[in-house]
């Protein structure tokens, strides 16, 4: 592999790594997003930046209404099937903030982690 090819491969590799990092960590432009699916949340843990107010996009991919509920964040929002809402959050202290679907508590908990 010549120098140019090596540089290109390195650039592609770095770009892929950066892309993989964004899957777990909220992007810079689009609001971080949580997707309610059957019996699970996607992602199970969403990492956001601590110390800055943020908007959270909650998408309901289920065929029934869900209720995003977090006692730690003092937030509750019903989301109709196939709909999405934006939830406004203040600057979070570093830490972990569980949430759940109050209409389907058997789905367990998801987690928002502020770092």
């Amino acid at each position: 592999m010549d120098g140019t090819s090596r540089t290109a491969a390195l650039a592609i590799g770095l770009a892929l790594c950066a892309g993989a990092g964004r899957e777990a960590r909220a992007g810079d432009d689009a609001p971080p997003s949580i997707r309610f699916e059957d019996q699970r949340f996607e992602p199970a843990e969403l990492v956001v930046t601590a110390g800055a107010p943020l908007q959270l996009r909650v998408v309901n991919a289920r065929s029934e209404a869900v209720e995003f509920e977090s006692f730690e964040l003092n937030r509750e929002r019903v989301v109709q099937p196939g709909q999405e809402v934006i939830i406004y959050l203040p600057a979070l202290s570093p830490g972990s903030y569980p949430y759940f679907d109050d209409f389907h508590q058997d789905a367990g908990q998801g987690r928002i982690t502020a770092r």
């Binding site: 006692f71 003092n74 509750e76 939830i87 203040p90």
Partner: protein, 150 residues
């Protein structure tokens, strides 16, 4: 020992042992209280604040098991579901504030809150029709305000 005395002794022992399971009767700081008109605030304080705020007036029996377990469960669950002392946090998210208000309206209209056993021991929590209407009017006005908030 007579059977009746044995039963009394057993009950006393169980009640005594129950006192070992204690919960702290604390009131965290008020982060940002709701700001309804004074008449509405009086009604909310008399009927709701013991379980739905950080300004709980802990009764003497909140230290006496097993009743204390029920009191602490109600306060803990009540604060998690609706806490007037963190109202300023709900305001940041108009959707959450609207949902809290809609829950209040529904429960007031159904007469489901405060629970019957709370009203039984707290006569001041029993609203007059006027107090109830004042609270509902405030709730409706707040919902309308939320819907116009960007």
């Amino acid at each position: 020992m007579r059977p009746s005395l044995r039963i009394v002794a057993a009950i006393a022992f169980v009640l005594g042992a129950a006192q070992a399971v204690r919960f702290e009767s604390s009131n965290p700081p008020v982060a940002g209280d709701a700001q309804p008109p004074p008449d509405v605030a009086t009604g909310l304080r008399s009927a709701c604040y013991d379980c739905h705020s950080n300004e709980t007036r802990w009764p003497w029996y909140a230290s006496l098991a097993p009743v204390s377990w029920l009191v602490h469960r109600d306060v803990s669950e009540g604060r998690r579901r609706l806490n007037f002392s963190v109202w300023s946090e709900y305001v940041v998210d108009p959707g959450t504030r609207t949902q809290k208000l809609e829950h209040i309206r529904e429960l007031v209209l159904r007469g489901a809150m405060p629970p019957w056993y709370y009203r039984l021991v707290h006569p001041s929590s029993r609203w007059t029709d006027l107090q109830r209407d004042e609270v509902l009017h405030w709730v409706d006005a707040e919902i309308a305000a939320s819907s116009t908030t960007p």
